[in-house]
Amino acid sequence: MNTSFAATASTGVVGQTNGGLLQRRIGKLWQALGPLVIFIVMFGIVAILTPTFVGGGGVTIVASSAAPILLVALGQAFVLNIGSIDLSNAAITVLGAILLAMTLGPLGAVAPLLVLVIVTLFGAVNGLLVAYMQVPSFALTLGTLGIFQSAALVVSGATTVYVESNGELVSWLYTTAIASLPMTFLLGVIVAVVAWLFLRFTRPGQGMTAIGKNESGAIFSAVRNRGLKVVAYALSGFMAGLAGTTIIAQAGSASPMGLGSDLLLPGIAAAIVGGTSISGGVMNPINVIFGALTVALVPIATTALHFDPSTQNLVYGVVIIVVVALTLTRSRSATVK
C-alpha cells in the first residue's frame, strides 16, 4: 500500500520500468472503478435476463433497500479507514430507531436531532475507549454491541415501538423520490459526497487516512491520532443514527429484533465490496455507494432471476469473497491477517 502511494506522489521514480508503472496505473484505475464496474455488470445481467426488472420499479427497490446499508457502511468505512472496526454500529442503529420512534410523538421536530446527538455520543464513547484505553477495537465494540443490544431491549420493553404521531416529519424521506431514487438513498449519497470531500481535502480527513496507513508514522508527524479516532467512531455513531432514521421513515416502527438488527454484516460487506481496506488507509466513500448497491442487489437479483430463494445466502457469500478477491490491492510483501 505504501509503495503505490509513493508511486503516485512522484511519478516516474528512478529505476521504475514503464511496464511496472503501467501495471500500477491499471491497478489504481481498477481500484477506483472496480466497485462501479461490478455493480453495473451485475445490474446489467439482471436487467437483460429479467426485462421487467428496470421498468417494474427494480431501481427503486434496490435503492431503498440499499439506503440503510449505505449509511451504516459509510460509518463502518470511516472506522475501517483508521485501521479499526466497529461491530456495534448496527446495534446503535436499532437503538437510535427505537429512541426516535418513542420521542417523535412528544418532541416533534426536535426528536431526530436529539437522537442523532445521542447516537453520536454513543459512537464517541466507543472512540474514547479505543483511543485512550488502547484496547483492541474488535473486542471493545463486541462488548459495547452487547450493551447497546440490551439497552434496545430494555428501552423498548422487547416489543415493537410504533411512531404515535408526527411520523410525517421523517416519512417523507421514504415517500419522496427524485428520478425514482427515494430520498433515504439520496441522503446516503449526499453523506458519501460530503465524506469524500472531507477525506480528500481537509486536514482531519487526511489525518485519518494517515493513521490507517501507518499509525506510528502519523503520530510522529503530529497527527492527532487519538482525537481523530474519537471523531471516526463518532461519525460511525452519527451515520448509524441516520440509518435508524431511514428505518423509521420506511417502516414507522422499530423493534430490537426487527428491521436493522441484521445490518452489521451487510454494512461491513458493503464497505469492503466498496473498496475499503479492512486493514485501514484505503477508503473511497463514493465507491461505498456502489458497494451498498451491490450488497442490496444480491438478494433482489437472486429473486428476480428466479433462483430458488434458499440459494440466496450461498450466492451472497460467494459474491462477497469473489468481489473482494477481484478488487483487493495486494502487495507481495504485505502480511495478510
Binding site: 471493545l140 434458499s310 450461498l314 462477497i320
Partner: protein
C-alpha cells in the same frame, strides 16, 4: 540496597548487586504477569459463584453444575478452534454457518421424523467432512488469494448457512428419533455430562499440542511475527490452512452436538454461538492480534460467561440485561488487560 549504604566505596559490587536485584524483580514480575491474568479470572469466577450461591440456593447444587458444564461444552469446543485461529492472528467468523451446514446434514442422514435412511456412522463422517471442506476453503482462499481471513470467513458464514438452507428445504422440522443420540450429550458419566468430557479432552489435547509440538510453537511464532516465522523457514501457509481445517472440523462437530442436544435442527442451529465464543476467548486473555494466549484461558473464559448467564437466570434477572452484562465484563476485562501497557506511542487497532 542496604549493601550500598554499608559499603559506599565498593562501586563495582554496588553495580552488580543493583543489576542482579533489578533482574530478580524483572523475572518475578514476568512470572507474576504470566499467572496474573488466569488468577484474576479464577478470582472473578470465585466471586461470581459466591454471589450467585448467596442469591439462590439452587445455584450451588450438583445438578446445576452439571447443567452449567453441559451448556459450556459447545462454546468450549468452538473456542478451541477459535483460539487456534486467533493465535495465528487471523479470525474465523464462519462458525455459525459451518455449524448449520453440518447440523442439517447430520439430522437428515440420521433416523429422523422426516423419514429417509439412517446412514449410521456416515451421519457423523459426512458432516465432519463438510466442516473440514469449508475450513479448508477458508484457509486456501485466505492464503492463496490473500483475501483477509475476516472477509473469507464472513463469506463462508453465508455459504455454510446457504448450504444448510438448501439441504433443509421446506419440509417440516426434522427431529432425531434415536434416543441414544438425543440423550448422549447430557448423560452423566463419572459425575459429569458426556459432552463436557469430550470438550475437556479436546481442550487438554489442544493445550498439549500448543505447548509441546512443533505445530503449536509455530502457531505462537506466526502470531507473534509472521515475517520472522516465514524467514525462519516455517511453513506458514501450510500451518494456516491446517489451522482453519481444524477450526472447520470443530465447528462441524459442534453442529452435530448442538443438533443432538436440541433433538433436531434447523438452519438456525448455530445462531448466537459466535458472539458467545469470541468474547470468551478475549476475556480469557488471548490477544486478537495473535501470538499470545491459549486454550486453557479460553476454557476459563467460557466457564466464566456461562456461570454468569446461568447465575443471572437463577437470580431472576431479566434476560434483557444479559448481553449488557457480558458486554460490560468484556469491556472491563480488555481495559484491565491493556491498562499497564498504555503508552503514547503504542498502537492498538
Amino acid at each position: 540496597m542496604t549493601n550500598t549504604l554499608a559499603k559506599p566505596t565498593g562501586n563495582v559490587s554496588v553495580d552488580t548487586s543493583e543489576l542482579s536485584s533489578a533482574g530478580l524483580t524483572r523475572t518475578r514480575r514476568n512470572i507474576l504477569s504470566g499467572i496474573g491474568e488466569p488468577v484474576a479470572l479464577l478470582g472473578a469466577l470465585v466471586v461470581l459463584i459466591a454471589i450467585f450461591s448467596a442469591l439462590n440456593p439452587r445455584f450451588a447444587t450438583i445438578t446445576n453444575l452439571q447443567n452449567v458444564l453441559n451448556q459450556a461444552s459447545l462454546p468450549i469446543i468452538i473456542g478451541v478452534g477459535a483460539t487456534l485461529v486467533i493465535l495465528i492472528g487471523s479470525i474465523d467468523l464462519s462458525v455459525e454457518g459451518v455449524m448449520a451446514a453440518s447440523g442439517v446434514a447430520f439430522v437428515l442422514m440420521s433416523a429422523n421424523t422426516r423419514g429417509g435412511q439412517d446412514m449410521g456412522i456416515w451421519a457423523f463422517i459426512v458432516p465432519l467432512a463438510l466442516g473440514i471442506v469449508l475450513g479448508a476453503a477458508n484457509g486456501l482462499i485466505y492464503t492463496l488469494l490473500k483475501v483477509p481471513s475476516f472477509i473469507v470467513t464472513l463469506g463462508m458464514w453465508f455459504i455454510g448457512f446457504g448450504i444448510a438452507t438448501i439441504l433443509y428445504g421446506t419440509d417440516a422440522y426434522p427431529e432425531l428419533t434415536n434416543e441414544t443420540l438425543t440423550q448422549w450429550a447430557a448423560k452423566i458419566e463419572l459425575g459429569l455430562p458426556n459432552v463436557f468430557w469430550l470438550a475437556a479432552a479436546l481442550v487438554i489435547v489442544a493445550a498439549l499440542v500448543l505447548r509441546y509440538t512443533r505445530f503449536g510453537r509455530a502457531a505462537l511464532a506466526i502470531g507473534n511475527n509472521e515475517d520472522i516465522a516465514r524467514a525462519n523457514g516455517m511453513p506458514v501457509r501450510k500451518h494456516k490452512v491446517t489451522t482453519f481445517i481444524i477450526a472447520g472440523a470443530l465447528s462441524g462437530l459442534a453442529g452435530i452436538l448442538a443438533t443432538m442436544q436440541m433433538g433436531g435442527t434447523s438452519n438456525h442451529i448455530g445462531e448466537g454461538y459466535l458472539f458467545l465464543t469470541l468474547p470468551a476467548v478475549v476475556i480469557g486473555g488471548t490477544a486478537l492480534s495473535g501470538g499470545k494466549g491459549g486454550v486453557l484461558r479460553t476454557f476459563l473464559g467460557v466457564i466464566l460467561l456461562t456461570v454468569l448467564n446461568n447465575g443471572l437466570v437463577l437470580a431472576g434477572v431479566s434476560p434483557n440485561f444479559q448481553s449488557a452484562l457480558s458486554g460490560a465484563i468484556l469491556v472491563v476485562a480488555i481495559v484491565a488487560a491493556a491498562w499497564s501497557q498504555r503508552g503514547r506511542l503504542r498502537i492498538a487497532k
